[in-house]
Symmetry: C2
Subunit: 199 residues, 2 copies
């Protein structure tokens, strides 16, 4: 039996590193790349190389950026008095897309997870405290996810931010806009009731 030529076999193996890509998908993607013009596959390969070479963590907020400090931290029109704390850069971009936050960000780079060996020292928590301590920060918005680790991280930050003259808020949890009450899980519904506001 004759298998795939070496370079093809290698590409199929490499593509399987990616999430949700198993042997069959890797094979399909590899065959597809064979049919692309040389210039197109070259562009894909170069984009993969460049993403690692030309990006670094912003030295202020910790997000992934091509300039340092990042576009947000170096933008004089953003309000430095409000810092929104998120777990990962993609959370930052998700909030940016809403165009509702005019302040700055702080990317923790993860959440507290003692079982996985992630303590406060593994995250960008010290630099957050430094920013709050040294800057004219008035509000810290905690936008970690609503799961065990995200909640624990929010709690930890709330407790430790008490020492600074700063108001700490948590983003609201409730019914998604357009959501149907009938299909909303109980925890979300309970949170929505708890967080009710006067109309």
């Amino acid at each position: 039996m004759q298998g795939y030529p070496q370079p093809l076999e290698r590409l199929i193996m490499q593509l399987q590193k990616l999430p949700t890509v198993g042997p069959k998908t890797a094979q399909r993607l590899a065959f597809f790349m064979l049919t692309l013009p040389d210039i197109e596959t070259k562009q894909i390969a170069e984009a993969i190389m460049e993403v690692k070479e030309n990006l670094s963590d912003c030295k202020i907020c910790g997000t992934i950026t091509d300039i340092n400090p990042c576009h947000i931290c170096s933008n004089p029109r953003r309000d430095p008095q409000i810092i929104c704390v998120v777990e990962q850069p993609d959370d930052l971009w998700a909030i940016e897309r809403t165009e509702s936050h005019k302040g700055l960000y702080h990317v923790l780079g993860g959440v507290l997870s003692p079982l996985d060996g992630v303590g406060p020292d593994s995250l960008r928590i010290d630099t957050l405290f430094n920013r709050v301590h040294n800057g004219a920060v008035k509000e810290v918005i905690l936008a970690t996810n609503w799961d065990t680790e995200g909640q624990a991280t929010a709690l930890y930050l709330t407790q430790h931010l008490e020492q600074f003259q700063v108001s700490v808020t948590r983003i609201a949890y409730g019914i998604p806009v357009g959501g149907d009450l009938e299909y909303i899980d109980e925890v979300t519904l309970a949170k929505a009731l708890e967080g009710r506001r006067a109309v």
Copy 2:
């Protein structure tokens, strides 16, 4: 609103060239690559480059290969009297995995499809006729797919191979091994009845 950094945006765009990869999947794959160690993403990028640089079409059978002629055509233990005709290299590898074909192959590089402007001249049909004409070929097995174009191509080849002293066969269509009669479509079932053999 601040979007993704340029190199990340570019990678997300590039990944969307791949089949079944939309904006969300491209984003997920790109973020994942950011978390990989440099050496791992480099290996992926290199594998993509190499697959185009180091592979070519076998000058005899037309399959994709890293040596020319390919491992199969240059293997003296394969039977040169039997040529199995397939549409694409992946069909060849599918048959190779069965370890049931000891002869050689001929990869057409597609199927006849007049509506898409694919005529006999666009496929490796002339080289097939040359091989049959010049070699000691006794049997040509047509293993194109059982769809309109695959069938039309098989018919075209059958008619034109008549001029040579060669037996032309078509791979069998019928119930897949382990298949349940109840769930088999009528065309396959009709083919299975038509192709019945004495036990």
